[in-house]
């Protein structure tokens, strides 16, 4: 790894190799640490997904008697919104790398808006289901816990991206040093991927 760093900073980076070495190494550590954080977060989701599949397979069949019907169309639209936000986040980071600040800002604002739209869709879905978390048996147990946890991750992501945007405006990141933006993008894609799994197991399975 150390050798790879020297190639990056020393040969490609050329004249400013010395001051950048610290950045290159720190960036490696932070990206790897963040990936491991996402692994442990994935384990958190997996445990609840296991719980859902366990309850689902150990009882009265699925959906359990008396459970409300999920709205596949609404969820599909909502999914498209969230996947779209993944794409806009990708464009945001790419524009930052190409040193286009205004385009970057536009795309990240779009991401935040799409995220908020997704959350609104979730709230509409919850309102239409019109059952309580604790009172709707194992359906509510599994569905509200998992989608709620995911929704909370989206909510945190919106705040995260907003903070990143403000930091960019205040000049915390340069076009050469932007580890925080990379991590934010990773997080947002992670939340996207989790939704693919949740959508499949609740609406398609």
């Amino acid at each position: 790894m150390a050798v790879a760093s020297v190639t990056q900073a020393g040969i490609i980076g050329g004249h400013h190799a010395e001051p950048d070495q610290l950045y290159v190494e720190t960036r490696e550590l932070r990206v790897q640490g963040f990936l491991l954080f996402m692994v442990s977060d994935l384990v958190l989701f997996s445990s609840f997904i296991f719980a859902y599949l366990y309850l689902r397979s150990s009882g009265q069949g699925w959906p359990p008697p008396g459970a409300p019907k999920l709205d596949l169309a609404l969820a599909a639209i909502n999914s498209v919104v969230l996947f779209g936000s993944g794409a806009t986040m990708h464009f945001a980071l790419e524009n930052w790398k190409h040193e286009k600040f205004m385009k970057f800002a536009g795309w990240i604002v779009a991401t935040i808006c799409l995220g908020a739209l997704f959350l609104s869709g979730q709230i509409i879905e919850y309102a239409k289901l019109a059952v309580g978390w604790g009172t709707s048996g194992i359906f509510g147990t599994a569905f509200f816990t998992l989608t709620g946890m995911h929704g909370f991750h989206v909510f945190c992501g919106i705040i995260y991206l907003t903070i990143l945007l403000l930091q960019c405006v205040h000049g915390k990141y340069t076009f050469q040093k932007y580890t925080g933006l990379t991590l934010g993008t990773l997080y947002w894609h992670f939340v996207d991927v989790i939704w693919v799994v949740l959508f499949s197991i609740f609406y398609l399975l």
Binding site: A2, G33, L36, S47, F48, A51, L55, G140, T141, F144
Partner: protein, 557 residues
């Protein structure tokens, strides 16, 4: 030399000046060594609390009909004893404590990858501990440290507090796991390949992913229990479609690997102490390292052996039984390697070595009874009896705690620059051996005779043996108190140790004691494993470490 040039301007050359204020230096410190000592002291306090709870139990059990406390209090006491010992004593001590203290130095780094995360992870731990003990004020949890529903659902308000406290301390453990994994993967000194790492580092390296993955799974289980208790969401309530067995699956998927979180670092400590005091290269370096990996991987596949009696699918019992028995193989490889290292060595029985050798004996007993319990027919007989209590106390009190004590006597001079008193140390060892065996050995046959665990009163025919156990348990407590006194007194009056009192060869012994803030003046290069006693040291670039020249401090910024 190209390797050395790579690091110029990188993290390895990035030395901050040492902070001078008391708060930044000793309280909210970013220095891995101070944080390690903070962990050791804090887990020592929890050892004291949990030990006091254990003695309360032993006093209650001196009479068949009890009388010292109510059965309900007894339930709270053994629950808090187990919870404290597992999450607030052994795990923080073995990972946050000894891991922080020496792991970064052993790989030739200046600190862990994320010092801030390290500090936050530490400070979560005492806060969570306060929360745990606050649950006594609101009716402490009383369903055992495993908190099986439906009993945990009927528990008093403190059970929810217990969930929150253990969840929090788990968050801290996850942070430590991530931090250590990145540190070991990315921050090793030039030449420190994986097969040249000290075996204690291997222990931490294998433990870190367990901390990261298993603790998060436990977090999910605790969150589910908390949600059910506070919001009535029926995860574990069969009348509403939930399943109490689900808790057992979620809980043991964590808590079986947690056993290895507690023991793998102790294996690492043994692998440092034994070759040092046998003056011999460790036998089977690679086998010890790889068997740790095998144990960690197998550890995720055996959780249901805790559930043979709970009505799981019988078809699953056989695979879980076989997988569990397989763990005995990598564990046996280690025992074999250590005994072979001892064989023909020039043994020097310092206190650390005594504890290490005692570990081999007692842990083997615990390991063998573990194989008994893996066999389904035997487990059906012994489950829920004192045999289980005997088994896991041999593994934890005879294994992990002995390993920790070996580590304490071994690395104490590195922390303070002074040696612990050897005479008191040997007294503490023999008292511990006698007390530990006297307390837990009779539990084997009491269990086989059918004495159920976790009950405040029992059949009078078992009273004599229980009185013997209680008497010996005070011997064990005396031993621990002796070690604590030894540590406190030696801090001021101990003999000066110099940098390397044991003639050990890992990197932490190449720098002054107590260890300087920046660890190394220059990051060394590594050429071989650290266990080749009799050969020249496998390091280059350490010439100035023990001279009084000042370290190269980068400009503050």
């Amino acid at each position: 030399m190209a390797v050395a040039a790579v690091h110029s301007g990188g993290i390895a050359d990035h030395i901050h000046p040492e902070p001078q204020g008391f708060i930044r230096r000793y309280v909210f410190s970013l220095d891995h060594k101070i944080i390690g000592i903070q962990y050791i002291i804090t887990s020592g306090i929890f050892l004291f609390l949990a030990g006091a709870l254990a003695e309360m139990m032993r006093v209650q059990l001196m009479k068949a009909n009890g009388g010292f406390m109510t059965p309900d209090t007894f339930n709270q006491v053994f629950t808090m004893h187990g919870s404290t010992m597992v999450w607030f004593m052994i795990i923080p001590l073995m990972t946050g404590g000894f891991g922080n203290l020496v792991m970064p130095i052993q790989i030739g780094a200046r600190d862990v990858a994320f010092p801030w995360l390290n500090m936050i992870a530490f400070w979560i731990f005492p806060v969570a501990g306060l929360m745990l003990y606050a649950s006594f004020l609101m009716g402490a949890p009383a369903a055992g440290w495993t908190e099986y529903p439906p009993m945990s659902l009927q528990g008093q308000a403190g059970t929810s507090m217990w969930c929150a406290a253990v969840f929090l301390v788990g968050v801290g453990s996850t942070m430590t796991g991530i931090n250590f994994l990145v540190t070991i993967l990315k921050m090793r000194a030039p030449g420190m390949t994986f097969t040249r790492m000290p075996l204690f580092v291997w222990g931490q390296f294998v433990t870190a992913p367990l901390l990261m993955i298993a603790t998060t799974a436990l977090g999910a289980a605790l969150a589910a229990l908390f949600i059910q208790r506070e919001f009535g969401v029926p995860f574990f309530d069969p009348t509403k479609g939930g399943s109490p067995l689900l808790w057992q699956h979620m809980f043991w998927f964590y808590s079986h690997p947690a056993v290895y979180i507690m023991i793998l670092p102790a294996f690492g400590i043994l692998s440092e102490v034994i070759p040092t005091f046998a003056r011999k290269p460790i036998f089977g370096y690679k086998m010890i390292a790889f068997s740790s990996c095998a144990i960690a991987i197998l550890g995720f596949m055996v959780w249901a052996h805790h559930m043979f009696t709970s009505g799981m699918a019988p078809a699953l019992q056989l695979p879980f039984m076989v997988l569990t028995m397989l763990i005995a193989i990598p564990t046996g490889v280690k025992i074999f390697s250590w005994t072979t290292t001892l064989f023909g060595g020039v043994l020097k029985f310092s206190t650390a070595m005594l504890y290490a050798v005692g570990f081999i004996a007692l842990f083997t007993i615990g390991g063998v009874t573990g194989v008994f319990l893996a066999a389904v027919p035997f487990d059906l007989h012994a489950h829920g009896t004192y045999f289980i209590v005997a088994h896991f106390h041999y593994v934890i009190a005879g294994g992990s705690v002995m390993g920790a004590l070996a580590g304490l006597y071994f690395w104490y001079p590195k922390m303070t620059g002074r040696l612990m008193d050897e005479r008191l140390g040997k007294w503490s060892f023999w008292l511990y051996m006698i007390g530990m065996n006297g307390t837990f050995l009779p539990m084997h046959w009491l269990g086989l005779w059918g004495m159920p665990r976790r009950i405040a009163v029992y059949d009078p025919q078992f009273q004599t043996w229980n009185q013997i156990e209680s008497a010996f348990s005070f011997v064990m407590t005396a031993s621990i108190i002796l070690t604590v006194i030894n540590a406190l007194v030696s801090m001021k009056y101990g003999k000066r140790s110099g940098p390397n009192p044991w003639g050990a060869r890992t990197l932490e012994w190449m720098i002054p004691s107590p260890m300087p803030y920046y660890n190394f003046k220059h990051i060394p290069s590594v050429f071989s494993t650290p266990y080749d006693f009799g050969e020249p040291l496998p390091y280059r670039g350490l010439e100035e470490e023990l001279t009084p020249t000042p370290p190269p401090v980068a400009a503050a910024h």
